[in-house]
């Protein structure tokens, strides 16, 4: 992409003749720091530049579409019935329509992260110099921005350099969104390729946002030993004024902490958070408290504990003003993306705003200046705490009230029919009416806190609050810890694990990411993470999944973050941070190619993705993926060749990318040493797949960590885990082991006796292990020619 840019900044120009400080003029291509690495073929790529790579992947992993319904209703020609091979009025078919929906989701997700990045960078540049240095790990991190280097072909040095990256991302996003218009793209695979592009842009946007905030707010800089922070409703001291922050954009919350520090109020108020704002706030101040994932919004607010609610952007419930009103807590909205219908008081005197909030003249305000939010929030919370003492502020029923509510239940089943997890509420209500609250308390564990049951009960039972009431003891006992988000992975860590990962001797990197739309509660994520950490995989976590992992205690009373170390090394559980910190997970895979294998990153996407795909045994697990952002994050992993597993609700993304292990012909790679085509088996078998149960997910994780490059030792270790998990969780032997055994040396030694007869029956092979690539350009010695 040819970038023309003129940028002139005159800070402190006093008069036409007087002193001009900080004159900063740039004309032409902005390239960040000077960089002598050879530029690859695709700096600032548009979608078409990487279309061939996408199609290479998509020829192996073909989309399976799972439409919600038969119809398209996107334009006024419609609705159109696309079932049974019919086409819409615009000519589109069902597969292209579904892939368009996936593209829209990925675009919404990527736009959200990119705009978050823009918002952060703009905000920071109002306060800091453009030339403020990017620093994500001091001398421990040389490759500060692997995604940006790889995609944009530039090495960002300063906060100002990030603007160039954002310009690129925004222009690309506009193009992608345009492709979803009626009468544009028509081919499902081209839509899918654009989905990949959105995903790649998303990861660049994530990286911009996180490296900006790490540098500017001095968040942990690639620290394996980042402090443990409190997690859970039970950790909060409701005797103090309590502020609740919700969302993803941390500056207002940071200004709350700063204001309280400056006014000697630290320790006198509780700053608590839900979702990624909470994670990022604890990266800034480990004394802040994380309440829990996104699904904790209703239960926490209804408990009446927060004296004030501050919302910013993303994953904030749209009914929080109502919920806040129910517990008589004022609400401050802080993002132009989520104004909540409130009057903009950004330019008003803080005294007036506080007075209006405390008197209840207004239920909430919009304040778009984080600094002012800091002051107004702290002052309002202090006063609100006092006034709320005399009011009924909890909407959770008492046990007696709950039993009375339960007696009203007529067993109509409407609540279960509204519940995403089809929880057995009517039976539990029946029991509760007799005084036995335990079935309702059990449902608390699997409830995702959506509140849909409340809305459909024609007996007006406050069902969700009833669950919280029934689980009162459990709720008070939610006292856990999570390691604060460490940010990037150090170069030295990559150097140490690069070899073992690429050779397969560390059996895999498993990234638990994404939201909290869990089919059976948060504990399943902890269970999976512990299983793989114990098996000496590297478990990585971010966002709500990182919290879910923390909400567990072993028999010794330790949370997983106490039980396992935080280094990017075998047996670790590594919390990188919030949603935007997911960039460091993809970044680690890319850094293996650059730091360990010395491949050039600069504008060299295809080669690096091919490297990661064939060599780095990494898998993403988004067990509760809910959002469009999660779709975009997954898409960024797909383009890098990293498979993603979602839970059963993830099937609602309506498209899988599945390989066919029964198609031998799909699994050839080139041996880059000779140019020969070599059959390597179905590794990794899928790029995007839903697992029905955690057991299925665990087996899939082990299986999807296999790569063509595994040494025999590495492969046999990976297979040991796969077979062991399969036998334990499925109760039988897997029927596809022969597909992964390239030669007798791959057979796990401890299982040899058991496996040999099976393998001999299927025909034991003796295939070479190639230096694998999907790209002809990577063949060093062309057949019949010189290298």
């Amino acid at each position: 992409m040819n970038r023309k840019s003129i940028h002139i900044r005159l800070s402190e120009a006093k008069s036409s003749a007087g002193s001009v400080k900080d004159l900063d003029i740039q004309i032409g291509k902005i390239k960040g720091e000077q960089w002598d690495e050879k530029e690859g073929p695709t700096p600032f790529p548009d979608h078409a530049a990487l279309r061939t790579w996408d199609r290479t992947l998509l020829s192996r992993y073909k989309p399976l579409y799972l439409p919600f319904c038969d119809l398209c209703c996107l334009c006024t020609y419609g609705k159109c019935d696309l079932s049974g091979g019919k086409r819409g009025a615009c000519g589109i078919g069902m597969e292209a329509q579904q892939s368009r929906i996936v593209l829209l989701a990925a675009c919404i997700g990527a736009a959200t992260h990119i705009s978050h990045g823009r918002h952060l960078v703009d905000h920071l540049l109002e306060k800091m110099e453009r030339r403020t240095l990017i620093d994500v790990g001091g001398s421990n991190v040389d490759v500060e921005a692997p995604m940006i280097r790889l995609v944009c072909g530039m090495k960002p040095k300063t906060l100002g350099d990030l603007e160039t990256v954002l310009d690129y991302l925004e222009s690309q996003m506009t193009e992608l969104l345009a492709a979803a218009h009626t009468g544009q793209e028509s081919d499902p695979l081209d839509f899918e390729s654009k989905v990949f592009h959105a995903g790649m842009l998303d990861h660049v946007g994530l990286e911009v946002a996180d490296i900006a905030q790490i540098s500017a707010f001095d968040l942990p800089k690639a620290e394996p030993d980042a402090p443990l922070v409190d997690l859970g409703l039970g950790t909060i001291n409701a005797e103090k004024p309590v502020i609740l922050v919700i969302g993803h954009n941390v500056p207002p919350a940071i200004d709350i902490i700063k204001y309280s520090r400056e006014h000697d109020l630290s320790g006198k108020i509780e700053v608590t958070g839900i979702c990624c704002t909470a994670i990022d706030l604890t990266r800034f101040d480990p004394s802040a408290k994380i309440v829990g994932p996104i699904s904790w919004q209703l239960r926490y607010i209804r408990s009446g504990v927060p004296d004030l609610i501050v919302v910013d952007e993303q994953c904030v419930r749209a009914d929080l003003l109502i919920e806040a009103g129910n517990i008589q807590a004022p609400l401050i909205a802080t993002s132009s993306k989520n104004c909540a219908g409130l009057v903009d008081r950004t330019d008003d005197n803080p005294d007036d705003i506080v007075a209006d909030l405390i008197s209840g003249t207004v239920p909430g305000v919009l304040i778009l200046d984080p600094l002012k939010v800091g002051e107004v929030a702290v002052r309002t919370a202090l006063a609100s705490h006092e006034t709320r003492k005399t009011k009924k502020t909890s909407s959770i029923p008492t046990a007696e009230e709950l039993i009375e509510f339960a007696k009203r239940c007529g067993g109509c089943m409407e609540c279960t029919r509204a519940c995403p997890n089809e929880t057995p509420l009517p039976d539990a209500m029946k029991q509760a009416a007799t005084g036995d609250l335990s079935p309702l308390a059990d449902i608390y564990d699997t409830c995702i806190g959506c509140g849909r049951c409340d809305d459909v009960c024609n007996k007006e039972i406050p069902i969700h609050s009833s669950l919280v009431a029934a689980a009162r003891e459990k709720v008070l006992d939610e006292k856990y810890s999570v390691r604060a988000g460490r940010g990037a992975i150090q170069d030295i860590e990559i150097r140490e694990v690069g070899g073992p990962i690429v050779l397969g001797e560390i059996p895999g990197v498993v990234a638990f990411v994404g939201c909290a739309n869990f089919p059976n509660g948060a504990s399943e994520v902890a269970e999976m993470a512990r299983e793989f950490a114990k098996r000496r995989y590297i478990a990585v976590a971010s966002g709500c999944s990182a919290m879910a992992i923390g909400m567990y205690r072993n028999e010794d009373g330790q949370t997983p973050y106490e039980e396992f170390h935080g280094r990017f090394d075998a047996g670790g559980i590594v919390n990188v941070g919030s949603c935007v910190s997911n960039a460091h997970i993809a970044g680690a895979a890319i850094k293996i190619a650059s730091i360990f294998a010395k491949r050039n990153l600069r504008g060299n996407y295809e080669e690096i993705a091919d490297y990661v795909y064939n060599r780095v045994g990494a898998v993403g697990v988004a067990w509760g993926a809910m959002s469009q952002k999660a779709a975009a994050i997954a898409a960024g992993f797909w383009r890098l060749g990293i498979p993603v597993i979602v839970g059963p609700h993830g099937a609602k993304y309506r498209r899988m990318l599945l390989g066919r292990k029964d198609h031998d012909e799909d699994w050839y790679v080139f041996d880059s040493r000779t140019g020969e085509k070599v059959q390597v088996g179905p590794v990794p078998e899928h790029l995007f797949v839903t697992a029905e149960t955690k057991e299925e997910a665990m087996v899939l994780i082990a299986k999807l960590c296999t790569r063509p490059n595994d040494t025999s030792r590495g492969r046999s270790m990976k297979l040991t885990h796969y077979i062991d998990l399969y036998k334990r969780l499925y109760g039988i032997m897997p029927d596809d082991i022969h597909l992964f055994i390239r030669s007798p040396a791959d057979i796990p030694i401890t299982m040899k006796e058991e496996l040999l007869p099976i393998l001999q029956e299927k025909g034991l092979q003796d295939r070479i292990i190639p230096d694998p690539t999907l790209l002809k350009s990577q063949i060093r010695k062309q057949k019949g020619g010189s290298s």
Binding site: L64, C69, S83, E422, A651, R654, D662, V689, T693, G731
Partner: protein, 191 residues
């Protein structure tokens, strides 16, 4: 509870909705027309203890009397086999739908694609998508949903039913399969 609307209220099907299985004879008739039927079972076959016993008896009966192969999704194969049912294949729920929509798939026995899929034991929302994927990807394949919740994306489905009424229906189905099989055997013995 009205019988023929989506069990999860917010799910909306489309222009073609499943016919309701009003009596087990319907299923027997459909099976007679099918050349290559397949049973697929999801994890709720085991995890939903209310349904487990009767579903296991039902699929065993299909297997014994009609020789229909059973494919289990998720991780339940071992537990189903412990109950005396022969499992012919294990694949993920997405993997089996992916194969069922491929006309060149050789099937679990290498003899070719299936024309009728009997399904049970999936959560409603997952079943919804599996059936929709198959309905769109293999419009000629018949899908029969045997769970007690109405699934518009199937070709044939039970209506939304109270557990007891559904169990009674399945008992009648098992009985019918059994009698029909005995009769057939007797007729064969006569011949």
């Amino acid at each position: 509870m009205s019988g023929q609307d989506s069990w999860l209220r917010a799910e909306m099907g489309g222009t073609k909705q499943a016919s309701v299985i009003s009596k087990p004879e319907v299923l027997i008739a459909l099976l007679k027309k099918s050349k290559r039927p397949l049973i697929i079972i999801g994890h709720e076959t085991i995890s939903d203890s209310v349904r487990t016993d009767i579903l296991i008896r039902m699929i065993s009966e299909f297997q014994k009397t009609k020789g229909i192969p059973i494919l289990s999704t998720s991780h339940i194969a071992g537990q189903v086999m412990e109950r005396g049912v022969k499992i012919s294949g294990v694949l993920g729920s997405m993997e089996i739908i992916d194969r069922l929509r491929d006309p060149t798939w050789k099937g679990l026995d290498g003899k070719g694609q299936y024309d009728l899929v009997l399904s049970a034991g999936f959560s409603y929302s997952l079943g919804w998508l599996l059936f929709s994927g198959l309905k769109q990807g293999a419009p000629e394949t018949k899908i029969i949903s045997l769970d007690p919740k109405y699934h518009p994306h199937a070709s044939w489905s039970y209506a939304n039913m109270k557990t007891d009424s559904w169990k009674a229906e399945i008992e009648r189905l098992i009985e019918l399969l059994h009698t029909e099989n005995t009769q057939q055997k007797m007729e064969e013995a006569h011949v």
